[in-house]
Symmetry: C2
């Protein structure tokens, strides 16, 4: 899915919600049967329940790889089930030497048929470039992540005066364009969005950290949005496992996705 | 496999060779049949041909993931075929928020049964810590990689005066110990090994970049070795696809592994 189509879908739905498909077998309502079958069935129900409220899905590969080949089969079937009307981000955080990243690009774009893949920047340009050769496909590069460990290296100050993540954003933005690169910026750093928009006025930002991780939704919208919206806000656990024991679980998922979507509609 | 056993095997075999299992379908001799079947068969032949000359194998997940679930099946079968007498490094370069890295640790240590997994440091402590909870298992953290992109961020100078990769080595070495952490240091930077050994006198270093990437074998041994050897030198393409058209391909692989092993025996 290209940028034009993504923006069209955001405006049509008045939502920039991305639903994280991180199925945790211990938290899935169905308690009987083969774990991978239960995960696939759960995913399909979640997708049907949330389709109307989101523009993107983001399965995280860890939750599938833990079941080995059978888990990858579920990942493939999940992405196929999502279909072409939603933007699919394989949250894989890959990155390797050029010869190897080329194989990863094949894995995620040709085999899995995702629209985008998250990539870690540590290994530099040749670890990212092979992903940019696929038209209509995207690299979502880690910028400033939502976790406590982002302080260890991403926030280190370079002798140029900029922080490492700022160098990552500025330097890597020349490798592609706002048509094929997005950046991960965690909602747990809302104060950073203003400065990040000075570095990257045009790019889409994929924003995790809303929901379970406690990020500030309104601050992210206020400081992070650009003229094309420019945000995909991801919610995983906050939608998959809503803390509402009053309602049946699927209704609770629908309500949660709907509420996020309604909050977003005011900003579109 | 724990450190004591790894050192024992290195001294017993007088080799610290790691064979990278990165099967490229376009370079595999057999030209007929299903690609994943050919890859598994190739891997088994390579393993049998090289077992006596190496102490470790390092399959890179990209070369399997490009075939989706069927590729993961081959990865599982390849690791099972290697058996318990060799150290197995899943070269996966993973790393995510703690909740997710926990799933990756399960994937690589419980499901795939690798001894070690390569991890990217960009996301910091909570992306690494879950892997360190498995006794007898290892994180191999990216330090200074062998590719040209290592210049983009790893070599950036921080305001403390140290380079980013030096900060990664120094800071992260407190998260675990030389019993459960190793570091990737590329052979294409032989001049850096002296300084790296000042930061990490005890840790094992996994060294890619010998062979196709042109690293300097003797310089790596001279500057990188410690009293426990402390090196695993990886060769992937240089063993899998030796440029020797005179011999049958399997003989050429045996000769190539044997030659590396013989060069190493002088250092053990």
């Amino acid at each position: 899915m290209n940028r034009k189509e993504l923006i069209y879908r955001i405006k049509e739905k008045k939502s920039f919600l991305c639903v994280g498909l991180d199925p945790d077998i211990d938290r899935i309502p169905s308690k009987e049967g083969d774990p991978v079958d239960r995960i696939l069935s759960f995913n399909k129900q979640v997708i049907d329940a949330t389709r109307d409220y989101c523009v993107a899905y983001k399965p995280n590969t860890a939750f599938y790889e833990m079941y080995g080949a059978a888990g990858w089969q579920v990942l493939e079937e999940t992405i196929a089930y999502i279909g072409p009307e939603h933007f699919v981000i394989a949250d894989a955080k890959r990155g390797d030497i050029g010869n190897t990243s080329k194989k990863y690009a094949h894995a995620f774009f040709n085999t899995l048929k995702a629209d985008a893949v998250t990539v870690a920047p540590y290994m530099g340009i040749d670890s990212v470039a092979p992903f940019l050769e696929y038209e209509g496909h995207w690299v979502v590069l880690l910028g400033l992540t939502s976790n406590v460990g982002s302080l260890d290296f991403q926030n280190q100050i370079l002798d140029s005066g900029e922080k490492l993540f700022e160098r990552v954003l500025r330097h890597s933005s020349n490798w592609g364009s706002p048509e094929n690169m997005m950046y991960v910026v965690g909602a747990t750093h809302p104060e950073s969005f203003k400065d990040i928009r000075k570095i990257l006025p045009e790019h889409f930002l994929l924003v995790p950290g809303i929901g379970s991780q406690g990020g500030d939704f309104d601050a992210v919208c206020r400081y992070g949005m650009n003229r094309d919206i420019g945000l995909l806000i991801n919610v995983s656990r906050g939608i998959l496992y809503p803390n509402n024991s009053e309602e049946a679980w699927l209704d609770a998922i629908i309500q949660s996705a709907k509420q996020y979507s309604q909050r977003m509609s005011k900003w579109v």
